[in-house]
Amino acid sequence: MSQSEAQKQTLREWLLTDTPQSRHQARMVALYQGWLSFSTNTMAMFGLGILICLGLVALFAPLISPHDPFAQELGNRLQPLWSEGHVFGTDSLGRDILSRLIYGSRITLYIVALVALIAPVAGLLVGTVAGYSGGWLDVILMRITDIFLAFPRLVLALAFVAALGAGIENAVLAISLTAWPPYARIARAETLTIRNSDYISAVKLQGAGATRIVTKHIWPLCISSLIVRVTLDMAGIILAAAGLGFLGLGAQPPSPEWGAMISEGRRFILDHWWVATIPGLAIFTVSLAFNLLGDGLRDVLDPKDGGS
């Protein structure tokens, strides 16, 4: 035991050293120190905890859900909370609400992950290209960004889904199409401040081309502010996806998407309130967790406008 303690001690020392021996170690030190200051933020850790639970639930959905989320049991419909075998009751077709919630977490994570991949990457591309190249390309790209920004997001997403047809993939596409402009703005602003710094001139003198400069020297510096923004946007993405689902334009029945579940339960809200209420609580919990996490990350990664 003493040996493992000693090892742990050295690992900790290795992580907190002032004189890193390698590039790898320096990176690890920075990460670990960020983690230390992040982990003192209780609310952010709470959010992270919820999200880890959510991830595990989604991963092991078939193992932990008590029933098949699609199995209908018409003799057993609209059972109240805590009824036998159905902790959260059953919906209008006698399907177990808890199981549907558990499987629904997969859909939510799927949508959030896809949008969180597509929108920032698109924004990063547009923003850095516009910022680095300047001139007419900059003007055109930023005008396009402004146009998208000027549009109300949900209405634009609605119109896109209407044009593309309802479904999860199209909902993802529509939300991404409305979500990328802020990232482009941020990435461009960062690029403009970096572009004229000395070290960029130094790499330029070494003969690096524009592509290399943008991908190797500008992108890494934009990442942290983008990550903060993405985490803060996640809640909005979840709410937008749920809104589309609620309108019947996102995931199609019988898939257990949370927004669609609320819209199904809406018809029985006066007599059977839990059918619509429980999925709403799930949406609320997850987006609250993302907001808490985003606040915490902003304090760590972005000290200049943190500390709200």
Partner: protein, 319 residues
Amino acid sequence: MLGLLFITFIIGRVMPVDPVLSIVGESASKETYDAAYKAIGLDKPLIVQFATYIWDVITGDFGVSLLNARPVADDIKRVFPATLELATLGTLIGVFVGVPLGVIAAVKRGSWIDQIARVLALVGYSMPIFWLGLVSLLIFYGILGWVGGPGRVGIFYVDIVPEVTGMILVDSLLDRNWDVFRDALSHIILPALLLGYYSLAYISRMTRSFMLEQLSSEYITTARVKGLSERAVIWRHALGNIKVQLITVIALSYAGLLEGSVLTEIIFAWPGIGSYITTALLSADMNAVMGGTVVVGLVFVCLNIFSDLLYKYFDPRAK
């Protein structure tokens, strides 16, 4: 502005629904199809089609609704006041509660008021609005019966007051018909409070961070040293200085409510532009969808321009 129209135009064109087929029907002959194709101008080059489209929009012609064969522009004129009424009331609630809350939270930083404001805002950011609407409808209408249910007025009060502005609250006031006013108020209060809560969450957070910035600057110390009362320092000097930033925030949240009310309107069966677009969407009435989207987009842009103008008016440095 042009770009905005361009996007709606593109969406309207790339959609997989064939507009000609939806007019002539599946079983039409090739000749009928071609005639209709020419009649709506699809044989002309895209740029000409775009020019026609812009001209139509400028002259206020959004085409005819495929659903009820009425001009889309007329429909929008009918539903827009309902949305305007709701969003205005919501923004008023947001401003009159949100700004003082933000100021107090900034002045008493770290106190329980600050904590409450923080939690309120966090919950507001995380709560799905349609769900909160459903639950509040369930509690205040379904169980307690304190407020009117969905819709704008009870069935007995429909079409009693003469329509002047299209906003029932204003119309019934003009007509001095207090029964209708009370009924309309009981219907609007819940959705307006709901929207007000969302704009409150945003406005109070922004007010707080603007105020914190002002309160830490030197002129505030000077004013305090000069012996000004704390009230004058905070409400006159500090708040006066963030007026300009606040206007931008309020305009943004107002525009947001005009848009974000889509889901609220559906929950409360509010016959505004949001439910209009959605109904049109579900019945594949593309003219109506595009018309509605353009109008909402235009309002958005106009509000932005308007807040820029106010900015110039209030801030002497911007002149």
